[in-house]
Amino acid sequence: MATKGNVSFNPQGGPVMLEISSGYSTTGSFILSTAKKGEYDFHEFGSGRVDDNIRDFFLIPIPLQELPNYILVVNGKYGPAPGHQQIRIEYTFTQDSKVLSVIPDTSEKIEETTNEFFLRFTNFFDFKNGE
């Protein structure tokens, strides 16, 4: 199931960053891609695993002036660790060390309970000038 969130950023500020954090012993991987609106030709700019003890912190590789014309997607494949059933993932956008607001705020969080090895999640984000 795909969700859509809108991120407000400051075009005069520093670069926009995305952090992927997990809870409840969530396991799995993610792929980050961007595409220009209208073209939808996605290019991967980052990937990783939430269970590997490495902080997942990414710079969004689009100039700030261009950002409102782009879509970012996180393709997540998450599952519970052994002995668990819960999945919890949070996508946090920051700029100049401040957390950016995302509307609706549910679009940046994944909370699920499952008995399956993994589930897939697609979270789209677009950007608007927050000034």
Partner: protein, 345 residues
């Protein structure tokens, strides 16, 4: 007996829908109830080490009636503190706190030789050879990275989803939705294949790791009581017990375990020491064990035979036949016991 079989069937039907694919510590081995171990009424007198995560109910049938001897086990530290912790924090937790996550509280009642007893015990795991959460190979196999083929389909699916969410005319919408369904089906097929592989790996791992080494330490309090009516409970004596138990595997089919237990009741000291040989798998195994008991300078030996039969991941039936011998090896008593364990995890 008919009633027992009927209840087993009901229990198994209740337990089947809860069967999970994700392995948990109880997928490998279901430990015995610490409170039943303290009372000495488990089918196997040598405590079976291991730890749960959540709840377990044990129902002991050691007499001709179905009057319930019940034990309830719960892992409060795990449930309150560790259950919602992310994996990296769990792995970086220090030894003491991590072992505390295995702390098990257990309460049980029984009627033994016309004496009614209640026991409250606490057990903690001191060492375990295998912890599935720490097994990164297991985690990466259960939830693997996508291969190139899957990534290509995912990219095509994402493209259509983006078009549907960020702008498409009504005319385009129908054909895009049709195309999306096609890619969703392709992705599901590949995911189902990956999940089948994960399940196969998980089952192999459960078979390989059911007899991994483990050491448990337990302490408990026993109270004997008289109870005529509901409002006339009176405790008449009690005592404390302390035990340590350990186990290790030999190959994939043998589990050797041992225990030492000390109980002081009514100023009488009792010492128990025993060894258990178990052969089989996590689903079905047989055991034979020897326990030496010294109570108030009277020594006896208990030789038990029995096994575990696992109906599914949540339901285990343990059965045993205990034969008690005097120090001159004269058979003094013979007792069959059946224990039904139901794990809620």
């Amino acid at each position: 007996m008919k009633r027992f079989l009927f209840i087993c069937v009901i229990l198994s039907f209740l337990a089947f829908p809860q069967e999970k694919e994700i392995p948990s510590p109880t997928s490998f081995s279901i430990p015995s109830s610490p409170a039943f171990d303290l009372l000495g009424v488990s089918p196997s007198k040598v405590n079976k080490p291991g730890f749960l995560k959540d709840f377990k109910i044990d129902w002991l049938i050691n007499k001709s009636t179905l009057a319930p001897d019940i034990a309830i086990d719960v892992q409060p530290v795990w449930l309150i503190y560790f259950k919602n912790m992310d994996r990296n924090s769990y792995l970086n937790t220090g030894y003491v706190l991590k072992q505390l996550s295995t702390l098990s509280l257990s309460v049980a009642n029984t009627k033994k030789d016309s004496i009614k007893s209640i026991a409250l015990s606490v057990k903690v795991n001191l060492y375990r050879e295998y912890d599935p959460i720490a097994d990164y190979e297991l985690i990466k196999t259960l939830n693997p990275d996508d291969d190139t083929k899957t990534k290509d389909i995912l990219r095509l699916k994402t493209k259509i989803e983006a078009q549907l969410l960020f702008g498409s005319s009504d005319i385009q919408k129908d054909s895009l939705e049709k195309e999306l369904k096609k890619y969703e089906a392709m992705l599901k097929y590949l995911d189902d294949e990956a999940k089948a592989e994960a399940k196969k790996y998980s089952e192999t791992l459960e078979k390989k790791n059911w007899n991994k080494a483990s050491i448990d330490l337990g302490y408990g309090r026993i109270e004997n009581y008289l109870s005529g009516n509901l409002d006339s409970l009176s405790f008449f004596n009690g005592g404390n017990g302390l035990w340590i138990s350990g186990a290790f595997g030999v190959g994939e089919e043998i589990l050797l375990s041992g225990m030492g237990k000390y109980i002081r009741m009514n100023s009488i000291d009792s010492y128990f020491a025993g060894a258990n040989f178990r052969y089989g798998s996590s689903d079905f195994n047989f055991f034979i064990e020897y326990v030496y008991e010294s109570q108030n300078k009277v020594n006896s030996s208990i030789i038990s035979y029995g096994g575990d039969y696992r109906l599914n991941k949540n339901l285990l039936i343990q059965f045993g036949l205990s034969t008690v011998y005097s120090k001159d090896l004269i058979l003094k008593n013979l007792k069959p016991i059946i224990n039904v364990s139901w794990v809620f995890d």
